[in-house]
């Protein structure tokens, strides 16, 4: 466990250190208008949607699957909430949230059925919703950006609790509850088991379809929450762009956190670190005024460097080089 977290945290600290050198006030946090305020809070706040996606994605990947539809689910849940608010169909905040969560769960259920009952390969099964989902969201919004004013709903993305942005609180809560459930029930064991060896798990009496459906629904739920944060944050549902390509970021974070795409063992804490690494990188690129053309290249280089640092093989080779050098000197 220790060594699992060591390298991701090391890399994160490295990135933060770089920022600190660049901008000594990087870690400064002040209270403005009853709200914590500072670069670090910004990073956490911006990372919230991807953190949620990555949590669901971690479990899906642990079962040996993948969920490409999360970006589309973000769009759908956001569109549904915005639609309900704008047309004043539902005005109570809890009901709006329930509606958003409801459609996200249905989306997850659909994915789960395709994967575990129809036996379609996850990448294709979820690709279907990835393509069609955005269409469904646009159908709801009519191709417009649905904007709204609703104090209750805006709290999700814009509100604060004890000065902390609510989206951060939501992430902490979701991670906490998930962690507890995985710890205190056998779900965590079953998920890893299915991913590591589906045949043997089946033989051991684990009901693979149920677990898989559950996991895809959870991933849907996470995406739904992320969708509501994003929608509430800009007070508008942008069916076409909300969460576009965010599935790739989520998967990237999961893998940077050390969970293998082949399934089996998974790591929730490191996934969160992975998300923070990516968001810190994005924010760093933005604040340092890198020309647009180079952002992609820098991102690629950083990702590869991060992964190399974490690769035992690479470190082994470096060590060998170093010891050889010292030998030569002596």
């Amino acid at each position: 466990m220790q060594s699992r977290l060591f390298w991701p945290i090391f890399v994160l600290l490295l990135l933060l250190a770089f920022n600190l050198i660049n901008d000594p006030s990087f870690f400064a946090i002040e209270i403005k208008q009853g709200r914590l305020f500072g670069s670090v809070i910004d990073i956490l706040n911006r990372a919230a949607p991807i953190a949620l996606l990555a949590l669901g994605m971690t479990l899906v990947i642990a079962t040996g699957g993948i969920d490409l539809s999360v970006g589309a689910v973000i769009a759908i849940s956001g569109a549904v909430c915005a639609y309900l608010i704008q047309n004043e169909i539902v005005t109570s905040t809890p009901l709006i949230i329930l509606a958003g969560i409801g459609v996200a769960l249905i989306a997850g259920l659909w994915n789960g059925i395709l994967v575990s009952i129809l036996g379609i390969q996850p990448i294709i099964a979820t690709l279907i919703l990835m393509v069609a989902g955005r269409g469904i969201a646009q159908l709801i919004t009519g191709g417009q950006i649905l904007t709204f004013d609703h104090v209750g709903f805006e709290f999700i993305g814009g509100g604060t609790l004890f000065g902390i942005p609510f989206s951060i609180v939501l992430v902490v809560l979701t991670y906490g509850v998930t962690f507890l459930v995985l710890r205190k029930t056998a779900l965590g064991l079953f998920i890893a088991s299915i991913g590591a060896n589906p045949t043997a798990s089946y033989f051991a009496g684990i009901r693979e379809p149920q677990i898989k459906i559950l996991v895809y629904m959870f991933s849907g739920l996470c995406a739904g929450l992320a969708g509501m944060i994003l929608t509430s944050d800009i007070q508008g549902a942008d069916a076409n762009n909300a969460g576009l390509w965010s599935e790739l970021d989520a998967i990237l974070a999961v893998v940077v956190g050390g969970t293998a795409l082949t399934g089996g063992r998974y790591y929730i804490g490191p996934t969160l670190i992975g998300v923070l690494i990516l968001q810190t990188m994005t924010t760093t690129i933005l604040t340092n005024g890198l020309p647009v053309q180079f952002t992609h290249i820098v991102k690629a280089a950083v990702v590869i460097l991060v992964m190399l640092i974490m690769s035992p093989q690479f470190r082994g080779e470096l060590n060998r080089l170093r010891t050889n050098k010292t030998k030569e000197i002596i």
Binding site: A186, F190, N197, T199, F203
Partner: protein, 503 residues
Amino acid sequence: MEPKSILKVSQLNKSFPGVKALSQVQLELREGEIMALLGGNGAGKSTLIKCITGVYTSDGGSISLSGQSIRGLSAEEIILKGISTVHQEVNLIPTLSVAENIYLGRQPYRFGLIDWAKMNTNAEELLSSMKVFIDVTATLNDYSIAVQQMIAIARGVDMSAKVLILDEPTASLDNKEVEQLFTLMRELKSRGIGIVFVTHFLDQVYDVCDQITVLRNGQFVASSSVDELPQIELINLMLGKQISNKNSSGKSRHTTDSNSKPFLSASNIGRKGMINPCDVNIYSGQTLGLGGLLGSGRTELAKLLFGIVKPEQGTIQIEGEVKAFGSPHDAIQEGLAFCPEDRKVEGIIGELSVLENMVLALQAKQGWFRMIGPKEQKEIGKKFVRSLNIVTSDINKPVKELSGGNQQKVILARWLASGPSLLILDEPTRGIDVGAKSEILQIIDGLCKQGMALMVISSELDEIVEFSDRVSVLKDHNMIAELTGKDISTQKLMETIAHEGRD
């Protein structure tokens, strides 16, 4: 003239994190010699072999082939040097055809392209010379683990140039196949090829081997010629202790009186292509043995009973009630347990820890919500590590890091822990050493006495005879006979298999 030494290992060390798997191990193999490499489960046999064949890099020592050092070469290079290996777990490519598996990396070419026709006929010839008659163009996955074992051996034998290493090749083979293999080994020996042979069947050692090297706890214990080492002494060397030899001296067989109700009763159960309709009755406190040759349909029958495959016809009753199992989960709920023969694919969950593997079935039975507490888990772990004598440095390490025999014990523990009313064992002692074997048999016998029903499939006829109160004999996917009482003997079993059911 003393035959030339070809493979020489000395002072070899190998450590894994937390385990010293080999320390100062030595071995010397001469031309035309069959060397038995023996030791208890976890002694380091497979590790030694993997060091020799370049799968692992050893930490120190030397390995030389015909006087040339080969330590540090890659697996690929070692193969080119003329050492071919059949590893303990079948290491073939499940998705390729049988023929391809045999000729992978050395396919015959014609006009610059692979000559499939030639490859297939070659493979067919090679296998039929070993009396295995199968469709070589079918995917390897389609065959049972025993057939896969034979295919792996065929490849190994066909490739051996100087040295052939066989790591427990006979674990799931029956007498006929084993004989076949020995014939081949003797032939290779006469061509001057050196063979390293790992097995837990000591009789086999005395059948074919010339020399014996014994390992214990990763250390070299002794090397001697077969003639100079009687079996009792050998066991002592392997286990480092005396084992009490209370063999099948007197298992009293239960006879079923006609009005007692079976725990499980399947009538007319069958599925096309797997097993033809037949009846099975299993009584609490008793053991049903399934006899038959490889491919006779024993595993298939067990899978039907356990809900892995849905029967096309017939019904299953548990204590008089008709049940239809949609999946193993349903069967487990009714108190069934099934320890499969294919350890790697159907048994262990390699990445999970030893403990997690052990509690898995019990946990699945209880459902995901009611988690077995950490304390209870630990107790289960402790209990079975002790009673099954599982060699592991840490109960929380991934089970794939255990030796083959110990993995087998973990799976056995998994099913014993689930507290079954009916335990189905398919090749239960596969790869388990002599010391542990008798202990395991005792534990199971004890459970039977407490009222557990048992069904045993084994390619060792002795084992079936020793265990069973009744034996059903299968042949070509048909149930052809049932033996009871005094009829249960190795002799009678072999006769039945050989003669009956030829219609």
